[in-house]
């Protein structure tokens, strides 16, 4: 028996291995990861790990000993170069070949690069791996002015950490508002004001033209103005790592195409996590998600199906972001709503925005409001009375009965 080969060693890969063992699979499980670390969680990288509050060990999905104790082989520092669908093999950069019965592609995603004059200078970073953050942390000790290109969640989380550490922080956003791709103008405005209050300078509509400096970056040039900066973090989105699959002849389109069982166009090949483009039966459309809960659930679905089960993927996407002492929990997509209802006080930094379509809850953005998040999780797609939702004196528990 050749067993299950998993390409990737991130959260989805680790969860697949764990779920296979949990479901009593006794055959070989082999992971291939390009990075030197055992599978770790990426969300803390732009939060507590960047702030130096937690160690690498604390970011690990499971302790190192877990893998050997469960007979899971983890090949670190190993890049898979090719998948041979005829032979059912994968080969690594060192030309070793491994056979599989079932293959799971969990190759994740990579940071989208900014290719402009000067982008090869030292002091310009992306934030995707432990290695990236270790370099950033090192340079943050001596940096005074940090520029962040991109006002998405990664950029804003970095801005929060850096400003708490006392750096002068500027965020340059190309769009007319921060978080434009992921949330509503109201939420953008709230986070813009929050960061401004903390001393972060946010400039929207900024077209970054070039970086300047001798060997290290010293300034960043936009159409309007030049900003002094001795450290730059670029957070302008990610790209799915689908090339291995595509080169092997597996169907891809904005990710590796899979069905509700996380199966690709090839029967014994699965794709999960950030790299997969999957159907969501609740939202009734295909999605490619950059999210841990999605990675975990797809891993469980793939493991179950590999072992002959019929578990189908069917969950409502949700996300979270921590900035300063604010916990933002999001469920569904606010763009699906026709109207919004606010519960709580925006000025007190404790509120939730429910998004309704045909009077049904289709999304929520909850700032320091876990109760409202939990409510939406359970009442997704159900009718809700906007007056009850907006009335803080109305006990939400009544809606669940």
């Amino acid at each position: 028996m050749a067993g299950v080969v998993i390409i990737g060693a991130g959260q989805a890969a680790a969860q697949t291995a764990a779920s296979l063992r949990q479901e009593k699979f006794e055959g070989p499980i082999t992971l291939f990861g390009e990075e030197p670390e055992f599978p770790y969680q990426r969300p803390p990288l732009s939060k507590d790990y960047l702030a130096g509050k937690i160690s690498v060990e604390k970011t690990l999905v499971r302790p190192e000993e877990f893998y050997s104790s469960k007979n899971i082989v983890v090949n670190l520092n190993t890049k898979v170069e090719e998948i041979d669908l005829e032979q059912n093999t994968v080969s690594t950069a060192s030309a070793e070949t491994f056979k599989y019965d079932n293959l799971v592609i969990a190759t994740g995603s990579r940071a989208r690069e900014l290719k402009i004059p000067g982008s090869e200078l030292n002091g310009i970073h992306y934030l995707r791996s432990i290695k990236d953050v270790d370099s950033i942390r090192g340079e943050m000790r001596t940096a005074r002015e940090i520029c962040i290109v991109g006002g998405g969640y990664i950029g804003l989380e970095v801005a929060a950490v850096a400003s708490v550490l006392g750096l002068k922080v500027t965020v340059l956003e190309m769009e007319s508002r921060i978080l434009k791709r992921v949330t509503t103008p109201e939420m953008s405005e709230f986070y813009h004001a929050l960061h401004t209050k903390k001393g972060v300078d946010i400039i929207c509509g900024a077209q970054v033209k070039s970086f300047e400096g001798e060997s290290s970056v010293t300034s960043i040039v936009t159409e309007e103005k030049t900003f002094k900066s001795d450290l730059v973090i670029v957070g302008i989105g990610i790209l799915p790592n689908l090339e291995l699959a595509k080169n092997a002849g597996i169907d891809c389109e904005n990710g590796i195409l899979v069905n509700e069982s996380c199966q690709t166009s090839v029967k014994n090949v699965y794709a999960i996590g950030d790299c997969s483009n999957h159907p969501n039966p609740i939202l009734n459309r295909r999605l490619r998600l950059e999210s841990v809960p999605n990675a975990m659930e797809q891993a469980r679905v793939a493991a179950n199906n590999i072992l002959g089960g019929d578990k189908k993927y069917s969950t409502i996407p949700w996300f979270w972001s921590d900035q300063y002492d604010l916990k933002l929990q999001m469920l569904g997509f606010s763009a699906d709503g026709e109207r919004s209802v606010i519960r709580g006080e925006v000025s007190e930094e404790k509120f939730a925005v429910f998004y309704l379509s045909n009077q049904k809850i289709v999304a929520v953005d909850a700032v320091n409001s876990p109760k409202e998040f939990m409510l939406a999780k359970q009442l997704y797609g159900e009718k809700a009375d906007p007056e009850q939702l907006s009335d803080v004196n109305y006990d939400l528990k009544k809606m669940l009965s």
Binding site: A18, P43, R62, W320, P370, K371, Q378
Partner: protein, 106 residues
């Protein structure tokens, strides 16, 4: 270190060792105890590590934080024994603790 007994909803028992500097959730996940999803990895953001701890053991724990309390409040399976296991650190005081798992995580 503490020996922890998890009891699944169907009665299946798992006795595991929880390491200091880890949480009850991590002890479960590391030992492949089914029934705890922990989708957020232990940041008290998802409430999918819900467990039930009886009053005697609960008395040895710190009170839940406001966030944990709010996350639990709207859980349909909530009882007075409910806690989120990512928010409970393993300590020697918990040697022999018994923890029950709910049927579903929400």
């Amino acid at each position: 270190m503490a020996t922890i007994k998890f009891i699944e909803f169907d009665g299946t028992e798992h006795v595991v060792e929880g390491a200091n500097d880890s949480s009850i959730m991590e002890a479960a996940v590391t030992n492949l105890v089914p029934g705890i999803d922990a989708d957020c990895g232990g940041e008290c953001s998802c409430a999918t590590c819900h467990v039930l701890i009886d009053q005697v053991w609960r008395a040895k724990l710190d009170e839940p934080s406001e966030i944990e309390e709010s996350m639990l409040d709207l859980n349909p399976d909530r009882t007075e024994d409910s806690r989120l296991s990512c928010c409970i650190p393993v300590t020697e005081d918990l040697e022999g603790i018994t923890i029950k798992l709910p049927e579903f995580q929400y």
